[in-house]
Structures are given as C-alpha cells and as structure tokens.
C-alpha cells in the first residue's frame, strides 16, 4: 500500500513533533538560565570558614592554668582547657543536643550550654541536661611551651 500525500502531511504528528521540539529547546534554555543562577548562589570556598587545618599550635601562655581558650579547629568552634597543672584537654564546643556553642563556667569548672542547659565536665562527659552524647575530644599536648592540638 502506497502512502498518500495526506498521510505524509499528517498535521497532528507534525504539530506533536514541533511541540516536543519546542519543549526540548525550552528545557535547554531554562537549564542555561538555572545552572548559572545555581552556581551564583552556591557558597564559595572562601566563605566556608577558617581553621580547616588538621592540627594547630600556639604558645602555652595563651591558656593560663585554670582557664580556657576558645579556638576554631576543623572548621568548628572548640575549646582548650587547663583545669589544673597536669591536665590539658581540647574539646569540641558544639553541643551534642542541638548544636549551640557551650560556654565555659569557671566557677563550677563545667561547660554549660546556654540553649537548653546541658552540662559537661572538662573531659566532655555529660553531667546533666538533654545532651545525648559527650563532647568529642581532640588530642592535646604541651611541647616546648607550645600547645599542640591534633585530630584523634
């Protein structure tokens, strides 16, 4: 059976083809707009924060005995505490409950979360409040009057 001219000029099929083509090229056009906008909005590396190093070193004099120093380590806030002559601890200060930054309370020798009242001792162990886990700790040591903190 030979196809007639009318079959070859099937308008419905043509319209469908044109419609699909229009949709396809519109999708490419939309992608060409959306992708640059997405790249524009995506945060740059520079704004990710300081303190990405895997270890850090600073003079021991910056943390007197019985005191604490807040630092930025592994891109997160952390603290170095010297509760007494012998001890030296480095802890993450991101509360394990909902991520607030815990504060150092000198009088009670505890770390307290201002958001929901979680309490931690100087080794990061939970003393009370809603925190489900202890604060992660880092290795800390004194070498030639310098405090060195490293990821465990």
């Amino acid at each position: 059976m030979s196809s007639t001219l009318a079959d070859n000029l099937n308008l419905d099929t043509r319209r469908r083809f044109l419609g699909m083509s229009a949709a396809f090229f519109s999708a490419i056009g939309a992608a060409m707009m959306v992708i640059p906008i997405f790249q524009y909005l995506w945060p740059r590396q520079e704004s990710a924060g300081e303190g990405g190093a895997r270890s850090m070193k600073f003079p021991a004099g910056e943390v007197p005995i019985g005191d604490a120093k807040f630092i930025r380590f592994l891109n997160k806030p952390a603290v170095v505490i010297r509760p007494n002559e012998q001890e030296l601890v480095a802890l993450s200060v991101v509360c394990t409950h909902l991520g607030c930054v815990v504060k150092w309370d000198e009088k009670s020798n505890e770390l307290r979360c201002p958001c929901h009242g979680a309490r931690f001792d100087t080794s990061g162990t939970v003393l009370g409040g809603p925190a489900p886990a202890p604060l992660p700790s880092f290795s800390a040591r004194i070498e030639d009057e310098y405090i060195i903190i490293e990821e465990v």
Binding site: I37, Y40, L41
Partner: protein, 233 residues
Amino acid sequence: MELETLELGPLKIRNKLAIRLFSAVDDRLGVKEILQDEMFEKIVPAHLTFWACFGGISFFIFICQIVTGALLMIYYEPSIMKAHSSVARIMNDVPFGWLIRGVHAWGSNLMIITILIHMTKIFVTGIYKAPRELNWVVGVTLFLLTLGMSFTGYLLPWTQLAYWATVVGTETPAAMPVVGEHLRYFLRGGEDIGQITLTRFFAIHVMILPLILASIVGLHLVQIRRQGISGPM
C-alpha cells in the same frame, strides 16, 4: 469524568496526571475559561505594529530587574565600608556575578529607553485620549517611579561616580524655594551623604519602590484589559 485529551488553545495535553492536576484547579476556579478568553483566543488587533510592543518590553525588563536585583541582594552589603568591596566581589569572584550585575545595570538603562519609546508612541498616536487618560496618568507615575529606582540604585555601588551623582541629585531639589533645603535633608537623612543615606537609598531601592511599582504596574495592566486596545489611527 476523565478527559482523554485536554485542549487549551493550541495545546493538546494527553498526560493523565497533568489533566487531573489542571482539572482539580479548574473545577474550583474556572481557570480554563480565563485562559481561553484572555490568552489563547484573545484576538490581537490587526493594526498593531512593532511600536506597540514597547510597553510589554518594559514590563519584561522590569521582571528581569526584579530577578537580577534579588540575586544581587544575596551578596551586596549596604554599608559604606563594604558596599564597594561587595560589588567588586560580585563582579570578580562570584560565578556569573558579572552577568547578573551586568544585566541589572544595562537593564536599568534599557528600561528607561523602552519606557520613553513606549510613551512617545502613546503620545504621538494620541492613545492617551479619552477614555484612556487615567492610564496615561498611571503610566507617567510609573515612569517617575522608574526614575526613582534609577536614582536610588545608582548610589549603591558606593563609587566616586555614585557618590557625587547623589550629591548633585540631592542638591538639585534644594534649589526649590521654601521646601528645598528640607527635601535635601530628608533625602540624605542628614546634612551629608553617608551611611544613613546609603541605608535609606537601599531600603527605597529594594523594598519601597519595587512594591509600589509592581502594584501600579498591575493597575496599568488591569486598565488596559478593561479598556481594550485602542483602534487604528
């Protein structure tokens, strides 16, 4: 009742989900009727020429300005210490920042040009005459608001050009008798141009004028639809 195909003007929708979603909205709001009457079967008068497009072109640029402006606000910092460096950062560091700001800056110039062409066309062909006088008034208001957008936006990069243009621009109304000096004081937010000026120009540019402008654009379009396109000359 399930439709096999949904015909919307030139569109034939066969996708079941799309038909059901559309019908769900249509059953409640009668959208199909509005789309048919106002979009797909709306007859454009044969006498319209290319010159009738400039209102629509201005509207299109206005939409572009809103989109690019919102994107620029992501990185722009409206403080005299950081305004210039944040704009430099948009231009040099942020991917496609140059493009977004370029479209915004060029768009602002283009919008003034297309509005002027639009107004000239309306004026020369006498379309502003009865019953469309009110829409001419609304249109002129839109033009003045657009100039306000240009004026307030020009200060934001906090360059020498921007600063001194604003000095001159706020000095000009001060020449008016009686109210002039007060107007200058009000525009600048003080005797000199400083942080307060930048902050208030920023607020006017990104919030106050766009809201007013967008609502009056709506009024402009409603009037056009209500009165229809004017007849041939």
